[in-house]
Structures are given as C-alpha cells and as structure tokens.
C-alpha cells in the first residue's frame, strides 16, 4: 500500500535533486529547470498532504504554484535570452563582469 510517506520521500528526493542541480550545474537554463523541479516537488508535497489529510487546500495551492511558476518561466527565459544575446554563452561562471 502506497502511503503518505512514499509520496513525501519522492517529493523530498525531487526537491533534493533540484537543490543539488542549482548548486552544481553551470548552465543557466539547467539551473532554471532545477528550480522548476523544486517547485514541482513542493506541489507534490502539497497534494499528498491534501489527499491524506482531507481538505482541498493543497490541491488549490498546487494550481497557484503552477501559475506563479509560469510567470517566473516567462520572465526567467526572457532574462536568459537577454544574457545570451549580450555574451553568446549561458555559463553562469562566465557571468563575472562584477568583481571587487
């Protein structure tokens, strides 16, 4: 029987993979994908909690989070494109104009 714990473990794993990706990957697009993965892991937690505790709150939250993630994607991709235009590279390590 698959219970709440299973869902939470998968969600925590996804969140962990996303976090790790943000910290170690160097391509801005991949970093952004990892952030989306984290948001979806959170969605999964919300829905699992909602399903097993009763109540619709978590389900509703998931929709809000998806809408916010879409808005973030629109802005984020535009910013990534803008950076690519100015320096022909997506490597975040090369974004080093500002050093003290």
């Amino acid at each position: 029987m698959i219970g709440l714990t299973h869902y939470l473990v998968v969600s925590a794993l996804l969140f962990g993979i996303g976090t790790l990706g943000v910290l170690v990957r160097r391509n801005a697009l991949v970093v952004f994908m990892c952030i989306e993965l984290m948001l979806n892991a959170v969605n999964m937690s919300f829905i699992a909690f909602s399903r097993f505790r009763g109540g619709m709150d978590g389900h509703v939250v998931a929709f809000f989070v998806m809408a916010v993630a879409a808005a973030e994607a629109a802005v984020g991709l535009a910013l990534i494109l803008h950076l690519f235009r100015t320096r022909q590279s997506l490597n975040v390590d090369e974004a080093n104009l500002m050093r003290h």
């Binding site: 939470l8 969140f15 996303g18 976090t19 943000v22 801005a28 970093v31 952004f32 952030i35 984290m38 948001l39 892991a41 959170v42 937690s45 919300f46 909690f49 505790r53 009763g54 109540g55 709150d57 978590g58 509703v60 939250v61 809000f64 989070v65 916010v68 808005a71 973030e72 802005v75 984020g76 910013l79 990534i80 803008h82 950076l83 100015t86 320096r87 975040v92 974004a95 104009l97 500002m98 003290h100």
Partner: protein, 558 residues
C-alpha cells in the same frame, strides 16, 4: 485557505488596489505613447496613482482607532496599523523610484513606460506581503514583488551588467522562493492549514507537534527563504553583484522596499502568527531566538567588513545594506525576548518591535538620498560609480553633494539625522529590557557602527577633497532634484522631531498583538469567526468609510 469574499473586505486592501489599477493603466497608456512627451505622461500617471494610494492610506490610518486589526477575506489577509504603517514606506519607495526613474531612463536610452507599471506592481506585492497571514497568499505577494523587481533590474537594455545581475537575482531569488514554499508545504502538512494564524492554536495545543521535525524544518525553510530576500548573512552573497548591476533607481527601490517587505513578513509570520513563544525551540530554551541572535551578529560583521575594501560605491552600499539587515535583526531578537520574559502580554515586545518599523522608514529615505545622487552619474547604459568618479562632484553640483553626504551620514548614524535617531531608539529599546544577552548584542552593534563610519566618511572625502581624474557625465533632472529634496526633508524631520513617527510605529506594532487578532487566532472555526470578522471590519472601517458607506447600499447580513 478559507478565502471568504465579502465586498467590504476590498476596503482593507484599497491602497494595493489603487496601485495595481494604475500599474495596469500605465501599461495600457504606454501602448499609445510613442513620443517622449507622452512617456512622461505615463510616468506622471504612475505618480498620480502613488499620490492617490498615499491619500487612501492616510485616510485608513486616520480611521484605525488604536491598536486594531481587521481580518480580510476569511483571515487570508489582514488590515491593521502595522500594514498601514509599512504601506507608507512602500509608497515612499515607489514614488521616489518613479521620480528618479524618469530622467535616468532618458539618459540611458531606455525610456519605456513599463518602468512605471513594474514599480507600481512591485509596490503592490510589497503591500500585500505586509498584509498577508495565509502563507500561500504571502507567497503569491512575494512573487508579485520579486518578478517585477527581476525585470526592473534588467531594465536598461544597453547595460551588460544589468543583464548579468538580473539573471543572478532571478536564479537566486526563485531558488529562495522554492525553499520558502517547501517550508510552507511542510507546515501545511503538520497543521492541515495554510493560514499561519490558524496554525498557532494547533501548535500551541500540541507541544510534540511543535517540536517535531516537520514543523521545525518548515520554519527553518521559511526563515532561509526570507533571509535571502532581506539579504541576511549567510544568504547575502548575491547582494553586491545585484546592487551593483541594477540601475541606481531600481537598486534604491530594491534596498528600501524589498527589505522592508521582507522584514514586515518576518515580523508578522515569525513573531506574531506563530506567536513569540513559538520562537522557543523544543525544550532547549531560546532556540529560534538563538538562531536569529547568531544571524544578527554574523550579518552585521559580514556587511561591515565586506564594505571596507570596496571601491565601487554601489557595491559598498550593498554591503552596508546587509549590515543594516543585521541591526534590524536586533530589533526582532529584542522583541522576541520582550515577550519571552513576560509571556502573558505583548506590551514589552512593542517597543523593540516598533524600532524595526521606524528604522526601515529612516533607512528608506537615507538610501534614496544616496542612490538618487548616484543615479545622476552615467550615460547610455554605463554608470560611473567608482569612488574616484565622485571626486569634485560636491563642488560641481552642490545640492547633489549635500544630499549624498547627508544620506551617508544618516546611514552611518550621525545626529541629528533620521538614521541616528532610529539607531539610538533601537539600541535604547533593546537595552531597556535589561537582558545581558541584548546588552552584548548592542555593544557588538556599536562596534559595527564605528567600523561603518570609515567607509561612509571615505565617500565624503572623495566628494569634497579629491581632484577629478576623468570626465564623468552628470545629467540634470528635475525629478531627481524633487526626490532628493523630499528625502532630505524626511530624513531631517525623522531626526529632529521623531516623536510622531515613534508614536505611529508603536501603534503599528501594538496592533499586531491586539486582542481581536488573538481572539480570531484562538477561534479558527468559521462560524464563530465570521461574526467577529464582520464586527471587526465594520468597527474599523466605520471611522474611515462612513461617507462612502452612506452612498453604497448596506452589505447584506451574514
């Protein structure tokens, strides 16, 4: 997330509605504007919106009697003196950012009306952040603010630094948002509600749940997420790059507004809706207060020591902004101690809490003085913000020189300016609690203030005592002059006659612990609260909305 919609609840978020509406109107007006003249019309429209929102906010402030708190939309949002006080800071930041923006954008060949609507949308998000009690509403408000500011950071398209810093801000900001959201999910799982106020009685009733891994991790993630937003060490590493690369008016908006909104949320969520006593961590005594205590010390030192070697002024101010987050954390710790020492009342926490509100107000105006002056140096996507670029500016443009000087002195805490009084009040309130831990914290802060004097005064030396080494373009702008004059008046007024502002700040903090809010928190079931919400809404809005109420049909009884 029990969002019950009643039409009168809209009164409670009227300033935010006005800003949001004007943001939309400005965006539409931009479509039809193709000449420079109509661009300034768009900016003027935005300024008009800020003025109307300011009027509405004053009207609401006058209508709120004493320490009072009105839950809106079934408790998802709340209107009280606290949110209304912070609205003044957000409106000031938005208005000043618009004034600085007009000339700056023309000079940098980025004269687009979207600037106006983005500033207004960002300020809307800030207002809703200070008002939200439900964690999900809070998250959406946070994103509304953040996304607008991400775009503003990259607003000058010719600037390569802007593009780079916007991407950094975006990636780190949304990373922090995701962590914060995970915290909200864990707390929802533990308590079965996303309303932070309703969480409190559930947690209070079950100490085992309160000290459980789920709740503690949830609170930790919320703290980390907010820590990124307010530039608290060790989550501050993005700050120097982003502050340096963003256009100066946007940096000021970011430094003042985003930080104030973050602290408003920290106060409301961490200390009030969870209760000051929830800051106690398990059985180990003052765990959460201990964490904040440590963060305050680390943040102050990280900011002040980081600022010392900087030769770029905006970078230096970024570190200085980190150190100010550290001072503000002292207020948070002190207000937590204030309540912990006397758990039955919130009164002792009001003084230290109000120092945060006052400090943020003084910080807003001082920051705009410095960044406003700096925003004049530059052309076509290139800003001249090295220390040596300021050489001789004090004589070339005397008023700008005076504004930057006074802004820096206020940030450093030199009397008789607003920054001095705010800092003095913060230290005094922390000391009056008579806890040795707080005395140590204040001493550390005093040492830090002395370190800070060095890098603030160095800028003034460059302003008046060095010879210019290269030609720096400095443009003229009426908007900047007006913004500097307004900030100057506010900074001096806060320092010379602060009693009224102190009263307002104390009232705003007292409203957080008002009996109505606590009663609503203790009775989360909907039938009971519906009446109390209704009664509270009617009582608070009566004073402010009498005239409009007469015109509108009476709301149907529940």
């Amino acid at each position: 997330m029990n969002i019950a919609f009643q039409i009168e609840d809209l009164w409670g978020i009227l300033p935010a509605i006005v800003l949001c509406a004007f943001g939309g109107i400005a965006a539409l007006a931009e479509v039809f504007a193709d000449r420079s003249a109509s661009r300034s019309f768009v900016a003027g429209l935005g300024g008009f919106g800020v003025l109307i929102a300011l009027g509405v906010n004053c009207w609401q402030w006058a209508g709120i009697e004493g320490a009072f708190s009105v839950p809106l939309f079934g408790g998802a949002l709340v209107m009280d003196a606290f949110s209304t006080f912070f609205n003044f800071a957000f409106l000031a930041a938005a208005g000043l950012a618009l004034l600085l923006g007009a000339g700056y954008l023309r000079q940098h060949d980025a004269d687009q009306g979207e600037y106006t609507s983005l500033v207004l949308f960002g300020a809307t998000g800030m207002m809703l952040m200070a008002q939200s009690r439900d964690l999900i509403v809070f998250f959406i408000a946070l994103e509304l603010m953040s996304i607008a500011v991400y775009v503003l950071t990259a607003f000058v398209r010719k600037s390569r630094r802007g593009a780079e810093s916007a991407l950094k801000y975006f990636l780190i900001g949304s990373f922090a948002s995701a962590i914060l959201l995970y915290g909200a999910a864990l707390l929802y799982g533990a308590t079965g509600t996303t309303d932070a106020t309703a969480m409190r009685p559930i947690l209070d009733a079950d100490p085992a749940l309160k000290s459980s891994m789920l709740v503690q991790l949830g609170m930790l993630f919320l703290l980390v997420g907010l820590g990124f937003k307010v530039a608290m060490a060790p989550f501050h590493l993005w700050t120097p790059d982003v502050y340096e690369g963003a256009p100066s008016p946007v940096t000021a908006f970011m430094a003042a507004g985003v930080k104030a909104a973050g602290f408003a949320a920290l106060i409301r969520i961490f200390t009030v809706t969870f209760g000051y006593d929830a800051l106690e961590f398990g059985d180990s005594g003052n765990g959460w207060v201990g964490v904040l205590y440590g963060l305050a010390i680390v943040t102050m030192f990280a900011g002040n020591l980081g600022a010392l070697p900087q030769t770029n002024i905006k970078r230096m101010l970024a570190y200085s902004s980190i150190s100010h987050a550290g001072y503000l954390l002292i207020g948070l710790v002190a207000s937590a101690f204030g309540d912990l020492s006397n758990a039955s009342t919130i009164d002792q926490a009001v003084g230290p809490g109000s120092t945060i509100a006052l400090y943020l107000l003084a910080y807003t105006f001082s920051t705009f003085l410095v960044f406003g002056g700096l925003s004049l140096l530059g052309k076509d996507g290139e800003e001249y913000t090295n220390l040596s670029d300021l050489a001789g500016l004090g004589f070339k443009r005397p008023f700008v020189g005076v504004a930057i000087t006074l802004g820096l002195l206020s940030l450093a805490g030199i009397p008789p300016l607003g920054g001095f009084f705010a800092k003095f009040y913060l230290f005094r309130e922390a000391m009056t609690l008579g806890r040795p831990e707080l005395t140590i914290l204040v001493l550390i802060a005093a040492v830090n203030s002395m370190i800070a004097l060095y890098y603030y005064l160095r800028v003034i030396v460059f302003l008046y005592m060095k010879e210019p080494t290269r030609e720096v373009p400095v443009f003229e702008s009426r908007g900047v002059t007006v913004a500097l004059a307004l900030s100057l008046m506010a900074t001096v007024a806060l320092g010379v006659m602060p009693s009224r502002a102190v009263d307002m700040a104390r009232r705003s903090m007292a409203s957080l612990g008002s009996t109505e809010a606590r009663a609503a928190a203790r009775a989360p079931d909907s039938t009971q609260t519906a009446d109390s919400i209704k009664a509270a809404a009617v009582k608070a809005l009566d004073g402010a909305a009498t005239r409009l109420r007469k015109a509108a049909p009476a709301p149907a009884a529940e």
